[in-house]
């Protein structure tokens, strides 16, 4: 190929995905966050193999300190909780649980939200205005309060907490999708497509949807971190996952009682939540910057 003489000054135009990726990897912080996040995801996926113990297996070694303490043992690197369960195994399984739940929640919220949002954007002024009013209203409600009320009505427990958090997340997707579509609809390429005689569905799937992906991806990462946080918060308040589920928030609320005499049972689960959220938020931020630059 190379020996073909070049008559024109050629510049390969990278695909937009490649451009995002380049912009993203230029951001060192975001890249390291992505590595951290991948590590957490790997731990989550392989937690049954990594965790040395069954997360609900109780032993007679109550409240053993982590291995780096003077009287800690290497058998339990993060120590044990008040029932003698291995804290590292619980946190590793908790990672799996939290990420799985959050993915599930975001999947529900995103599919419902994007569907409603597209519908609203493409329907008439009246329906649009009404939907906006309702969504604004739901957004104005304090999210955790709403989730708490929903859980109070349908009863505490993991599945109910998940529905509650998903419901709370839907309006964000509706609004983002709607405004992104409204932005695109008036652009010239859409008019061109219409003039070409493209059908409504084809128009939406083939040309509009790929162009609203960037804001949606940013919204997805945001929703993902919110979902993890709110599920943990409900668990902490005793309204989400119930014992002996190794859910991070539930672990924290259980270990709260030992804050004075076994502080590691509080600090370690908290750090797990914190680093997961931080890495997701950093990646989200990096993505947004990359896309802003790309445009």
């Amino acid at each position: 190929m190379n020996n073909i003489p070049q008559f024109y000054q050629q510049r390969r135009i990278p695909s937009s995905a490649a451009r995002w990726w380049k912009n993203f990897t230029d951001n060192k912080l975001a890249t390291s966050a992505l590595l951290l996040l991948s590590l957490i995801i790997l731990i989550a996926i392989f937690s049954p193999f990594i965790a040395p113990y069954d997360p609900t297996l109780q032993s007679a070694d109550y409240l053993l300190p982590p291995s780096w303490y003077e009287d800690g043992t290497s058998a339990h690197i993060f120590g044990t909780d008040a029932l003698g369960r291995d804290l590292f195994s619980r946190l590793a399984h908790g990672a799996g649980l939290s990420l799985k739940l959050a993915t599930f929640v975001v999947a529900i919220a995103a599919s419902v939200g994007i569907f409603l949002g597209s519908l609203t954007a493409l329907s008439n002024q009246f329906v649009d205005q009404i939907t906006i009013r309702i969504m604004d209203l739901v957004l104005a409600l304090p999210s955790l309060l709403l989730a708490v009320v929903i859980v109070a009505i349908i009863g505490p427990g993991l599945p109910n907490a998940i529905y509650a958090v998903a419901i709370v997340l839907i309006p964000h997707f509706v609004l983002v999708t709607r405004s992104a579509i409204k932005n695109e609809v008036n652009k010239e390429y859409v008019t061109a497509m219409i003039l070409d005689g493209s059908g409504k569905i084809r128009l939406f799937c083939k040309s509009i949807f790929p162009n609203i992906l960037p804001p949606l991806i940013v919204q997805l990462t945001l929703a993902f971190s919110t979902a993890i946080l709110e599920i943990a918060a409900l668990g902490f308040l005793g309204l989400g996952a119930q014992a002996p589920h190794p859910e991070w928030g539930t672990i924290l609320s259980e270990s709260h009682n030992n804050i004075v005499n076994a502080p590691w049972t509080v600090t370690l689960p908290g750090l797990a939540i914190f680093f997961t959220l931080l890495s997701i938020n950093l990646v989200g931020d990096g993505l947004r910057d990359a896309m802003d630059l790309g445009n």
Binding site: T56, Q58, Y62, A82, P244, V260
Partner: protein, 541 residues
């Protein structure tokens, strides 16, 4: 804008650096309590939290328990006579007892028989003008069967009153020492009726007790001051505050930090770590209580006694006592605690043996196990510091013999409601005796009558057992009662509607500056005659 920031920062720093003056704190005893009272009228409640805040601080009864024991001593009644047939009780009342003077009420006369009449008739007569002022109802009075027991109450003179019962009942005097029998002011009620403000009678209380209510902020605090005209003399302690702190770790943190002087319901881990802190001292007393797993005998497979025996064999009580109570409890085998005179020492407990349990299960036809649900409460009680944790341990024990356990956790009120209606499959429950009489355990928890009100959570109604405890109730001689109760305990063990788990030792953690404070075996806290050493609060670190 920049100036504003500077002001904010300076005020924050000054707030940080500012140190409390100790002298004001010296005059206040702060008790970190576990919850808000439902009301300030003990007649309307069955909760110990409400009694701590009302009957035990604000009111007196005709007779009361001697501190630290279950013996009866005179209080508002100086003495009493019981007729030969055991049906008539005549009380002579004190003449020198004054009610509290509050913002709403200034008493014009001392305590007399009208107040006794009012306090009982309000609970007893459905057409009494004050019977329906509260939506809460007189649950204790009713669950004790007082309505049927009392035939008449008669005022003989201004300071003499007669109770006539429909049958002889030996625990009656002890019942009059209980919280629901507290004496309210008839004059106050009358005055409120005239002013059309009857609804405040239970929220702005007037009693004869050692302390009177100053202010109540729900979920925040209750402030009391010493009753200046208390009939036993004004208390040495001038101010008493209940700091409402439902979270046990927060209560402990506040005690350690010197924000409270007495802490309610410490967790076992707090008791073991309290010695590290100068501001914490543990006081303990054998409790009059039991924690047990109740199996609903109306629901399969718990209608089969073999299954119940199997579960008794499968649960490792020793590990529960280590992990849940941190060794601050004794294993239970009978439905009453060992410090009670009717306790049957000779009963042999089911030993912990998963093999025997599995064998019994296959005998019962459940060789492959089954699914069951254990209902628990999130609240922590004196007899069970952590029901959730206990349920998790039992879950693991039962998994070993092939039974799959689901745990459901409820808030205390919701939990009781569910259990009373018999909606549970099995439940982790407990009981603290209120009057020291064994009948106070047997009748509510295991009688056939208890299945109607739901206090008998196993819904186990055995005619032989029921007959035995009924006989024991109408006898007055301790020896013959003991025999009957011991036999009843054998019947109980045979049927085993429960797994008796533990008798918890009662603990409170106090600041060493609190003096003359004692734990009452029947539970609850009393601040009468407690005082503070006049020294600065000891600080840690």
């Amino acid at each position: 804008m920049r100036f504003l920031n500077i002001i904010v920062v300076i005020s924050l720093i000054s707030a940080c650096q500012y140190q409390k003056k100790a002298n004001v704190r010296d005059d206040v005893l702060v008790y970190c309590s576990e919850g808000s009272p439902q009301t300030f009228n003990p007649q309307l409640s069955t909760s110990g939290t409400t009694f701590d805040a009302s009957s035990r601080t604000l009111y007196n009864r005709l007779v009361e328990f001697k501190p630290g024991s279950t013996l009866i001593e005179p209080a508002l009644a100086t003495h009493w006579t019981i007729s030969a047939d055991g049906k008539e009780y005549i009380f002579d009342l004190r003449t020198d007892v004054k009610f509290h003077t509050t913002a709403n009420f200034k008493p014009t006369r001392p305590f007399n028989a009208d107040d006794v009449l009012f306090s009982f008739e309000r609970q007893w007569q459905k057409d009494h003008p004050f019977h329906n002022t509260s939506k809460l109802g007189y649950r204790y009075f009713e669950s004790m069967g007082m309505g049927g027991l009392i035939e008449s109450i008669e005022k003989i003179s201004s300071h003499k009153i007669k109770f006539r019962l429909s049958r002889a009942e030996s625990p009656f005097l002890a019942s009059l020492a209980m919280d629901f029998a507290s004496i309210l002011s008839a004059e106050y009620a009358q005055q409120l009726a005239q002013q059309n403000k009857v609804e405040i009678i239970d929220s702005k209380p007037v009693g004869t007790g050692p302390f009177q209510l100053v202010r109540y902020q729900p979920d925040a605090y209750i402030r009391y001051k010493a009753h200046p005209d208390y009939w036993q003399g004004k208390q040495r302690l001038n101010n008493l505050v209940f700091a409402i702190t439902p979270d046990p770790s927060l209560r402990f943190a506040r005690l350690v930090a010197g924000e409270c002087d007495v802490m309610a319901n410490p967790l076992p881990v707090h008791i073991t770590s309290a010695e590290q802190f100068q501001s914490a001292r543990v006081i303990s007393e054998a409790g009059l209580n039991i924690a047990y797993l109740s199996m609903n005998t109306t629901k399969p497979p718990f209608n089969n006694h073999l299954v119940r025996h199997a579960i008794n064999h499968a649960i490792n009580k020793n590990s529960i006592i280590n992990a849940v109570y941190q060794k601050t409890a004794t294993e239970a085998k009978n439905p009453i605690p060992p410090n009670m005179w009717a306790y049957n020492k000779s009963i042999k407990d089911f030993e912990f043996s998963p093999e025997k349990a599995r064998k019994l299960l296959s005998e019962a036809g459940y060789a492959n196990g089954f699914n069951m649900t254990i209902s628990t409460m999130s609240a922590q009680r004196a007899y069970n510091p952590n029901a959730k944790k206990m349920a998790e341990l039992i879950q693991q024990n039962l998994r070993d013999i092939g039974i799959n356990v689901d745990i459901e956790t409820y808030e205390y009120g919701a939990f009781l409601y569910k259990v009373r209606k018999g909606e549970h499959h099995s439940a982790l429950l407990g009981w603290t005796g209120d009057n020291g009489d064994p009948d106070n355990f047997f009748t509510p928890l295991l009688s056939c009558a208890g299945t109607m009100t739901g206090t008998n959570s196993s819904f186990w109604c055995d005619p032989q057992f029921n007959q035995l405890i009924h006989q024991a109730r109408s006898q007055t001689r301790v020896k013959s009662r003991t025999q009957l109760y011991q036999q009843a305990q054998r019947v109980f063990k045979q049927a085993s509607p429960w797994v008796p788990i533990a008798h918890a030792t009662q603990h409170l953690i106090i600041n060493p500056r609190v003096k003359n404070f004692a734990i009452i075996p029947t539970g609850g806290v009393y601040f009468k005659d407690v005082y503070l050493e006049n020294s600065e609060v000891l600080n840690d670190e």
